[in-house]
Symmetry: C2
Subunit: 188 residues, 2 copies
DNA sequence: ATAATTATTTATCATTTGTTAAAGGATATA
DNA sequence: TATATCCTTTAACAAATGATAAATAATTAT
């Protein structure tokens, strides 16, 4: 059984038939560091399960600056949601920060399975719920504290992740410049 | 037929039986200006359709300041999503800024209808998709421009709404203080 | 209408953050 | 090892924003 199937089975109980049909649709792909899994203007046709590596989910804003929605690490699901739902070109990119192995299912296959199996429809609902609540939390986090507090909080809650991302990327995630982040770090 | 039912029928085609069962579950409520439809620490048990009025969806951040997710106006769906999904107390409030009339369906009723009718399950999927993509857009908007540009943009795209909300609320929505917004307005 | 309350603007000063440039470290490549 | 490249820090200055208080305008209540 694929890791993706195993992962979702622990979240939503899938009946045997639904599970095996889901598992059959899973494909695997590998990427080198610095490659786009979803590039600008492409259509995101899949939901991905991240087996290995780390991914930066971001866009370039009106001032030409990089804004990071979030990072994804092992054992997480991701997709460029707006593009995935409407199957139209995305402005939101998925870039590998390390060598990456993913498993994925296409929207078409997932839609077909949703129509066929109620348990997979429930899985789909769960994945959308997580996408929505994660964005709500991300927005709240960004609006909740001054940047120094956001930095301290990030270090506390993501000590492992700190070792895998650059301070430049962290600054963008926190919504400040790298110079500003250096100042915050120096001020301790 | 309730306005809520009519509204969703235009988005997702519901078979006759699903539609009438959905319609039977809809309830109505009225609120005066300045009342909470969802108050802090309460559990949000419903999805609402806003028939009349305007609502502020917000929370109080770690520094004690009000942060506005968004405003809702007539003919829109809303719920305090995290609380609704997990049925746990919310930190996100829904406050009426005008007299309000809503129609709503409970989570329990909706879940039952989802299990029974695939078309309603699709409706549920649609509503979650919108919640997620709306938050993605809101986040992007907030991170895309300097505050003066965000203000100009808001005025352009929400000229009707401008007449119904206070500048203090608008400032909070834009992520700045009211004093700062006054400066931006004066600088024109 | 008058008073009281609330909303908005203006002014002043302090703080934060951005910008630019340069310097120092670290890492990768030949 | 030496060189080049990338990442991070530091410094100096400018711009934006916050905090506070006071003044003005608008709204609500008596």
């Amino acid at each position: 059984m694929n890791e993706f199937t195993n992962y979702v089975s622990k979240i939503i109980e899938l009946d045997t038939k639904a599970q095996s049909e889901f598992d059959l649709k899973i494909k695997t792909a590998e990427f080198k560091k610095g490659q786009f899994i979803v590039s600008e203007q492409s259509i995101c046709r899949n939901i991905y399960y991240l087996k290995l590596g780390i991914i930066k989910f971001y866009f370039i804003n009106a001032e030409g600056k990089e804004v990071i929605f979030r990072f994804f690490t092992e054992q997480s699901l991701f997709t460029s949601l707006e593009s995935f739902i409407l199957q139209k070109p995305t402005a939101h990119m998925m870039l590998t920060l390390e060598p990456v192995i993913v498993e994925y299912i296409s929207k078409q296959d997932l839609d077909e399975l949703c129509a066929k199996h109620h348990s997979i429809s429930k899985l789909n609902t769960y994945m959308l719920s997580m996408a929505a609540t994660n964005m709500i939390r991300r927005f709240s986090e960004l609006m909740s504290d001054r940047s120094s507090a956001r930095y301290n909080n990030f270090v506390l809650e993501n000590s492992q992740l700190m070792q895998r991302i650059s301070l430049g990327d962290l600054a963008n995630y926190l919504g400040i410049t790298q110079v500003s982040l250096s100042r915050i770090r120096a001020a301790k």
